[in-house]
Amino acid sequence: MEREVFGVDSGTITVAHELKAPLSLMRQLALSIELEQDKEKISYTADRIVATSERALKQVNDLVKVARLSDGLFEMEPVNPRRICDEVVSELWELFRFNRREVISEYRNREKLVVANHDLLYSVIYNFCLNAMNYSGEETPSEIFINNTKNGIRISVRDYGPCIPTSIWREIRQYGASRPLSTAMRPGSSGLGLYIASRFIEFMNGRFGLIRHRDGTSFFVDLPISKQLSFI
C-alpha cells in the first residue's frame, strides 16, 4: 500500500532521499579536503566530488525527462543500438576505471537498427551500466550484450552482484518498475534508476525485464527492429 506523509507519496520521499545522499556525501568530501595534505589524495577527492555531482545531475536530468515524456520532445527514429552502447561504454569507461571496475560489450546480433529515441535509449543503457558497476566486484566485469530476439533485439547488462530478492523480482516481472521501490532492491539501491529506465522503455514501446542468475542479475530492454536499412 502506498504510504503518504502529509500529502507526499512514498515515491517522492524515495527520490528526495536518493538525491539527499549525494549532496551530503559531496559536503563531506569537500570538508575532508581540508584535512588532507597529500596532493594526490586531494586530487582524488576532488575527482570524487565531480563524479558524485555528475551522477546526481544525470539523475535529476532523467527525472525531468520522465516528467516531460508526454510533451512530444522525444521523437522515435531508427537508431543503431551498437553505436549507443559504444557511446555509453566510452563515457563510463573512466568512471569504471576510477572505481577499479571493468565493462565489456559483446554484440551477437546482426547490425540492425531499432525504433527508439537516441537520448532515452542512451539513458536506459547508462542506468543499467551504472547499476551493474555498483554491484560488480573488481574481478567480475559488467557485460553488455545485444542479441536477436523473435521480433527485435535485446540489449542486456549483466552484473555479478547480489541477487535481487524474489519478491522484488516477481513484482517487476508482473508490473514492471512502475514506481521507485522504496523497499530497496539491493544494498544501496532504491530502484530509482530502474524506475527511470522502465518509464523510458515504456515510452519507446519496448519491454523491460530482468533475469536472476545464481551469481548476479541481468537487466534488459527488448526493442522492435526498424525496417529501414542500416547504411552504417
Binding site: 545522499a21 556525501l25 575532508s32 544494498p187
Partner: protein, 116 residues
C-alpha cells in the same frame, strides 16, 4: 578493528579515505557484518540506519542479544534525525548526522574511543 556498515558505496569509499590510518573493515549489509563479528569482535562500529535488508535498528537489537557483542561502542552515522536517548540502550555512544557532521569531529571521536 573498526567495522563500518553502510550500504552506499560512495560513503564506504569516503570512510576508507578518512580512516585510512586505522584498521577498518567495510560492510554493505548487516548480515555479513554480524557473521564477521563471530570471528572477530570489533573495537568500534560505525553504523548507518537505513540499510537494505536488516536495518541498523535490527542490527542493534541483534547485537544486544549476544553478551559478547552487547558492549561494543557504536557510532550511528545516518541521514535520519535520531534521538540519542532512544538509542543509548543499544550501546550507541554517538550519533552523527551525515548532512551536518564534520569529518574532523568524527575522526576525533573515533580516536578518543579507540584510545579509551
Amino acid at each position: 578493528m573498526i567495522m563500518i556498515i553502510d550500504d552506499d558505496k560512495g560513503w564506504l569509499d569516503y570512510y576508507r579515505n578518512l580512516l585510512k590510518n586505522f584498521d577498518i573493515e567495510l560492510f554493505r549489509d548487516g548480515v555479513a557484518a554480524i557473521q564477521r563479528m563471530d570471528k572477530e569482535v570489533p573495537k568500534l562500529i560505525l553504523l548507518d540506519i537505513l540499510l537494505t535488508g536488516p536495518t541498523g535498528f535490527s542490527i542493534l537489537s541483534e547485537m544486544q542479544s549476544y553478551p559478547e557483542l552487547a558492549n561494543i561502542p557504536i557510532f550511528v552515522v545516518s541521514s535520519v534525525d535520531l534521538s540519542a536517548t532512544s538509542l543509548q540502550k543499544y550501546g550507541v555512544k554517538e550519533i552523527f548526522n551525515k548532512s551536518t557532521m564534520l569529518p574532523q569531529n568524527l575522526l576525533a571521536r573515533v580516536r578518543e574511543y579507540l584510545n579509551a
